[in-house]
Symmetry: C2
Subunit: 219 residues, 2 copies
DNA sequence: AGACTTAATTGTATTTTGCAAATAACAATT
DNA sequence: AATTGTTATTTGCAAAATACAATTAAGTCT
């Protein structure tokens, strides 16, 4: 009997965050087809039936298609649906957000990054998706290792401090930050590795196995 | 061209939380049709095309059908999809979780509450949905007014304290709890209203307008 | 009146945080 | 080689938040 229900298209849209020039940015694509041809939009695509257990596989496929490799951090954000969000008809979009160090994107050809405070006009309900993604990122940043995924594998304490300030959007005391981060065991020293310069060398750190497994552990 | 993509059914499933006899419980329905006829399951239903802007309207409809009124707290949880989760074929389930005071359910005829630690065997991927819902509820409880929605409109500080301990699953210091809650302005005294008994009368509180509007504010 | 029960406050030790300053370790320059 | 510049890291201390224990408050019941 439920055979007769109308069925929507199901797609994924990705909010791909990175930090470039000390600013929180999103990676957008330019649409090559109508509707909204020529506009910048969140990368997205249709979910295929084979892509099992939530639409994460589809999200990964879209990201790989856009930047050529997987994002270090990927998490489902929210699901938007309705007949009004896409002029072509009823659709459901399972939105994801992902974090990528800018250093990895530099090679990528097609990646265009826009500061979240200066986005171009976006099609569909993408402004709503962006708002929700930024809200979620800011909300999660304080209590988790999340912002660390915006950094390359090796980073200094000051790199981390700066990234946290940028994602949260507020000042954080250096000494307290150091204390808190270290006691949470989300990062660990890389023995003997330092970043040098015309100053005292800075200890290099990496995400601890604890932080990495916490990210993998999905129910 | 995307007309040719196969399209899944879209449904909502609801994790309806309540607290009965000091235990966190879920409201389940008994399935009246195959597959899994006779099993207890999360209340759910198909999303209709008219139900706009995320599937929240569908979730509300399902809840109203189950208990006869709206849940004080309702929020989207996670979206599960895949060809394997339902034997009838490819489906997408937008899962929600809701909080309801047991006092409101007592009248409701068909409501059967099961402690989350002693659930019967569940069909489909409902065990996964439940696990995710409990995880989310526990995670959000600490930093928000969330557990208060498990209480009736008027409650004492001790009621609130007990509810927080039960949802989080840990002891909380009474004096500190009182302090923290009051300074967050999520509840307010009801002037002149007390719960009496064979002891000192207890001040009655209600959720503040601040907490209620924070809940309404959806992007 | 006294026992009993839960509510609410108080006091104090401990821990966490915020802020400012001092010290450390290098490269570059004089 | 000594000095300067620059960023890293630690230290010290005041202020705030928290945990724990005990006390006081306000009623009912016998």
């Amino acid at each position: 009997m439920e055979q007769n229900y109308p069925r929507p298209w199901v797609m994924v849209d990705i909010a791909l965050f990175t930090i470039r020039d000390e600013r929180l940015c999103l990676i957008l694509t330019r649409r090559k087809e109508p509707p909204f041809e020529g506009l910048h939009a969140l990368p997205g695509g249709f979910v295929h039936i084979q892509e099992d257990t939530d639409a994460e596989a589809a999200a990964r496929r879209v990201i790989r298609g856009k930047i050529g490799f997987d994002a270090p951090y990927l998490e489902q954000l929210y699901t938007f649906s309705g007949a009004a969000r896409d002029p072509r008809g009823w659709s459901v979009s399972v939105a994801y957000y992902a974090l990528i160090p800018w250093s990895l994107l530099a090679r990528s050809t097609s990646a265009e990054a826009f500061a979240v405070e200066a986005l171009p006009p976006l099609p569909f309900d993408h402004p709503r998706i962006v708002a929700k993604a930024v809200e979620r990122l800011r909300g999660k940043a304080t209590y988790s290792s999340l912002p660390a995924f915006l950094l390359p594998a090796e980073f200094t304490m000051n790199d981390l401090h700066r990234i946290y300030e940028q994602t949260i959007g507020a000042r954080l005391d250096k000494a307290s930050f150091r204390h808190k981060i270290l006691e949470q065991d989300i990062i660990e020293e890389i023995p003997g590795r330092f970043r040098t310069g015309a100053h005292r060398p800075a200890q290099l750190y990496r995400l601890s196995s604890k932080a990495l497994t916490a990210f993998e552990r999905k129910i």
